[in-house]
Symmetry: C2
Subunit: 502 residues, 2 copies
């Protein structure tokens, strides 16, 4: 293995070299990106732009995606840090044996067809265990997609990342780390994550966990300075005691959000075919999660929302002290719906004091309401609803968190208006730029100052430029008004838990 002992501050953990390999050999890639999963995975490793040396191994080809290909791993000029196997199951043991001979200690095994297919597969599994033991090999998988690391050799390689998954989209680098017994949850969430501002720094598809398991990665993430929040997709917990112990140590400092997918009849059958796990009783998992402070959900959308919520709280240290929500809206209907949801989630939407109502009333139309929700009706004064009102609420001490409904894509509005033949002032056209300076950055500072988060929302899909603008400032913004109350509930509960366990 090449030297890589200057990469990260806790480089003594054995997983560090898995996440930051300087050189990789790839088995099972060719030049046909369309039909061979391994080819797409190699493409993505290349696209990450960081890995120093890539050595494809192939029985026939001389060149693969621009790299010299070798007939056997034994022919490689060096011993690479990591071997990545995307091969038919039957050839895996032989290739593993050769990797061992070559001195490679870290393997990623994507190949499926192990215990999840039954008896034959179990035999294969035992065979690879033996080879691993013989050569002191550690491996991730089999039956996995590998890993994504946006912090690859950080800070040395600031703009590089490593992505061994076949999906090619990658989210913005962030403090979220995922460990998943499903490649889909580890990687196919990236298109949405990218668009929604769910900033993921590391994602691991651990597959059958034959050698390296979730507990190993939890250990790693516990001390990883780039991990602020952890997401887990669980079909089975292998080392129960160690898991609970470790999670209890982690959750008071780094929140964990988990999906558990066993617990019902057909779901247990499904996960058996998937990773070969034996699904357990839902009640046991509920109890474990509760005891260990894990935030749990059955839905992928909530999983991403909660990770995003806690990622922001963690990054800017904005945890909340109570359950009082202030709601600012330019629409009565969404205001009423958010108010009702907040109350159903156990949050409080207190009527403001006379003083605060009077102060607010001076700034809103006479048809508007200042009671909480503050409903400004049709009044697109962005400075008021995005900044001034939140500031007034923060200073009042009457709320612990704030939701603002009314983010429109003003660029889209302007474009529509221009198409109608109206000339628009350059100053107004540049409102987007002004927004950055006068609202987005300052409101984030306010949030930090008061430790009161402001969740924004509006009626556009995430892809619209103004939503992306908020996201580029890392502000929590949600399409529609369903998510903010739900996410505040999660933040409130976690903030309490964190306080109680500090």
């Amino acid at each position: 293995m090449t030297e890589n002992n200057k990469i990260e501050p806790f480089n003594d953990h054995f997983l560090n070299s898995f996440l930051n390999p300087r050189s990789i050999t790839v088995f099972g890639a060719n030049n046909n990106l369309l039909t061979t999963m391994g080819s797409m995975q190699l493409r993505n490793i290349i696209a990450g732009g960081g890995v120093d040396d890539i050595y494809p191994v192939h029985p026939r080809l001389d060149k693969i995606q621009g790299f010299k290909a070798y007939k056997s791993v034994l022919e490689l000029p060096v011993t690479p840090d990591l071997a990545f196997l995307i091969l038919p199951t039957r050839v895996v043991p032989q290739v593993m044996e050769e990797c061992g001979e070559k001195g490679i200690k870290n393997l990623l095994i994507t190949s499926g067809g192990f215990r999840e297919i039954g008896k034959d597969g179990v035999q294969f599994s035992q065979e690879i265990d033996k080879i691993a033991k013989k050569y002191k090999i550690r491996f991730i998988g089999p039956n996995c997609l590998g890993l994504y690391n946006a912090w690859y050799r950080y800070p040395e390689k600031e703009d590089a990342y490593i992505n061994t998954f076949w999906p090619y989209a990658v989210p913005k680098k962030g403090n979220i780390s995922i460990i998943s017994q499903s490649g889909t949850i580890a990687a196919q969430t990236f298109w949405h994550a990218k668009e929604m501002g769910v900033n993921i720094g590391k994602s691991l598809s651990v597959g059958n966990e034959r050698n390296i398991d979730m507990v190993d990665f939890l250990e790693y993430f516990k001390n990883d300075p780039h991990t602020g929040v952890i997401g887990l997709y669980i079909e089975e917990i292998k080392r129960g005691k160690e898991f609970i112990q470790l999670v209890k140590e982690i959750t008071p400092k780094k929140p964990i959000v988990a999906i558990y997918t066993g617990g019902t009849k057909a779901a247990n059958r499904s996960i058996k075919s998937h990773t070969g796990s034996l699904g357990g009783d839902q009640k046991i998992y509920d109890a474990v999660f509760k005891e260990a402070g894990i935030i749990s959900t059955n839905y992928i959308t909530d999983f991403l929302y909660y990770l995003r919520t806690l990622s922001f709280a963690q990054k800017y240290n904005i945890f909340i002290k109570g359950n009082r929500v202030g709601i600012i809206t330019d629409s009565g209907g969404s205001g009423s719906m958010m108010t009702k949801s907040s109350e159903l989630y156990g949050l409080e939407v207190p009527e403001f004091s006379k003083q605060l109502k009077d102060d607010l009333s001076e700034l809103i139309p006479f048809t508007a309401s200042a009671k909480n929700p503050i409903d400004v009706t049709f009044d697109a004064n962005f400075l008021n609803i995005f900044y001034k009102f939140p500031k007034m609420l923060m200073k009042s001490g009457e709320v612990d968190s704030i939701i603002v409904w009314g983010v429109f894509d003003f660029d889209d509005v302007i474009e529509t208006i221009e198409q109608s033949g109206m000339k628009i002032d350059e100053n107004i056209k540049n409102m987007g730029t002004m927004l950055d300076r006068t609202i987005l950055r300052p409101v984030r500072s306010l949030m930090k100052k008061y430790s009161i988060p402001v969740y924004f929302s509006g009626p556009f899909p995430y892809r619209f430029p103004w939503f992306q603008k908020f996201i580029s400032y890392d502000l929590p913004i949600f399409d529609f008004w369903d998510a903010p109350p739900k996410c505040l509930k999660i933040l409130y509960e976690y903030s309490q838990y964190r306080r109680d366990h500090s």
Copy 2:
């Protein structure tokens, strides 16, 4: 009023002329689309392209958005079908009086500042009641955004629509009709609806319902041939008895999805400031909804999903006979999650018969599973997972509904691959086109033949071309795997209700 008695088959209902005015006079619009809501609303009426004559009225301007403006409604050369008032509250009675003198019978009153602001507002309300009575005027509002009708003067004006809302985005024409006590729910949902394939034909913002209420529109929609599903946003039900009676007649034929937003302390306060309603007890509403067969939700996302689900069922007459779901996936994780959710929602995911498993096994890799879920693992054979497998399940008689996970945006994949320097065969590039002919149309026919719906999903946001392709064929497709089981549960329950009440 001009003659409009050839518009629709049930033109004797008085609301028909509200939804299909041939001529409109607009108060409160000018040339500044940016700061005046009424100007944007006029812009949208113009953009609809159908209305024959538009008469802006303005005290000073001579021309508004290209149309001759009049100083007073009394100066108009004709008596328009509809007057649209977006004016300061104080001038509304005077303008109404003049409209009455001119002989205008239909009014849309956007202006707020009536009962929702308290005592003064109540007085204004009584004043406009009197004027309406004096001139036999019917009006929608006040405190509303008006209406959207994609079926405007259909079929005479096939491509035209009328949109008096200020949001300018309009969804595709469909069989969904919305009646909302919030303009936001009526109109600000359109950006998402358009992208998600929620095809709305009519949407009404009824505001304070001072003259025309939800019951009037329900009466209209009951017989409207273009209404297949109804969505309601309710803060208060004004004519309780009539409402329940009418809804009971409607729901066995046309499903109704409703949001009720009162029922909690702060929510009741919020809706009082919004439309001036007095929110009621949640339990009463729950009981009424149950008795009348209304599908209810507190979330806007579910509201749109359920409308979309039932819109499809209604349009193609695809209701389901039982609760057995067949799941087809190319990913174990999403398969397991959908299986678990289905079971939590009371649906069944039965293991397939030996015969069916054997038949399926011939078509999938050896690492795959045919038990239900069918997990094909990484096997992008679209013909199999989108068409052949659904067909086999349908023929087997072993399921009542099907979910397919695995819609990728192949165009996006191809583009990414091409950027990597690989040459791609023209046939493969044209797969999108082939998809239309060989999969999308045929699978819809199969659904109709067997009365078994197939819900598609995949990891891309709706905006991606392949998702839009499915949507253009009206196929139910969802981003992520949370929605399909939830929507199937709604369809299952409604199908049962419909059978029990037929």
